[in-house]
Amino acid sequence: MILQDARVQLRVIGEPRLLAGLDQGRADRQRHLFTHGAQPDLNREAYTQLAEAVGLRGRGGAAFPVALKLADLPAKGIEAVVVNGSESEPVSRKDRLLLTLAPHLVLDGATGLARALGAPHVLIAVHDAAAATSIREAIMERDDGLAIEVTDTPGRFVAGEARAVLSALEGGKAVPPGRRALPTRKGYHRRPTFLSNVETFAQLAVLARLGPKGYSSTGLISEPGTQLLTVDGAVERPGVVETPTGVPLEAVLQFSGAARGPVLLGGYHGKWLPETDGVYLQRPEVSAGIILALGTETCPLGEVHRVSQWLASQSAGQCGPCVFGLASLVDDFDRLVKGDPAGWHDAQRHLGLVPGRGACAHPDGSARFLASALEVFGEDVRLHLDGGGCGRPVLGVLPVPGGSW
């Protein structure tokens, strides 16, 4: 069975770790063991020390230190280890790629940690069909003595938020709850839960094998190791790239054949960069590792307006300021693109009214994305408000999922 998504290209800058041994496609149990060796049996203390020694951070976007998450769990009674593979950022491909091509690495990380924590359940939330098939097949190939469950979660942006995933795993709606509670205290069925992104578990599996010294042989001193990046937009070679942490953005752009022009770092909750020179790819700025090159052929504000429509459509519809605020911002950007100065003024006001006023970070992230666009594309804003526009068409360089989401 060929599970590899033909459109996603894998590439490596430097030494491959997560992507090692994948040149011929999916690594079955045998190839996985041949490439990485067996997963060592470590206890909870060892995992905490390892995560602390290399400053490992969650790879889902929030970049929360794994050691702190482990330290926040109670000594006993941990219910589940949850692998968040919902990957709801529309451009990101790294997590479904790992689940599809290197499922055993992810499972090693998750089951190893579950055993160390004494958690009886390993729950894997997946959205992609090929990823779900591959991980289910991998589970059949091994005997972990744990209850491993794979659940399909909805693909809506907000459904990927940690507590929305927990709610979906419990059989509820995939929306964030109104009360802020940490999964480490009240997670799966309100019991202590370790939840992290797919790549985090793959990194843990590699870290457990290499030890802190081997793991730190590449990347930054502050956060050594490698990272997975998804590169898309105006690039000749889009796909997933594994690089050491802290590589210059310019290197990745050149490697991917990116057109010159503005770059969006961190996906649709991320920020536009005013300048790509001197930017080094590290957490928290790099977030979930999404790099989008815009190029110079398309109208930046028109592109941002398209994405704003999508962001507004992805609200779970629970919180007033998110529903009304994002809808207003779509309208503001529409008027701004058409040259109405009132659109710009209203956008400034609405951008102040949206952040911090919702059950999850969707309004905050969307406002961050839109605010950085107004800042970085100031010259385009001026051209549009002068009445003539920027003279470029909206090409749709920024991918926006269609109605199936």
Partner: protein, 75 residues
């Protein structure tokens, strides 16, 4: 060590429907935005204001207004 307790009002955004009673009952802490949803100024509720704030919390028709758990802090 002397400790004081301070609390703030907070909103469960998944419940709030913008009835707007909180802005009338707690004009020093809550104003309404252009869509009728509360904007908090983040001020701490003093001990003397606490009974009144509690009444406002009980008055919220959507049960969305809350007092957060008091934070113990060095005076």
């Amino acid at each position: 060590m002397v400790t004081t307790t301070a609390s703030k009002v907070e909103i469960d955004w998944t419940r709030c429907d913008g009835h707007g009673l909180c802005a009338t009952l707690l004009p020093n802490d809550v104003v309404l935005d252009e869509w009728g949803f509360p904007v908090l100024n983040g001020r701490e509720i003093t001990a003397g204001e606490l009974p009144h704030a509690r009444r406002a919390v009980l008055a919220c028709p959507a049960l969305a207004l809350r007092l957060d758990r008091p934070v113990e802090r060095d005076a």
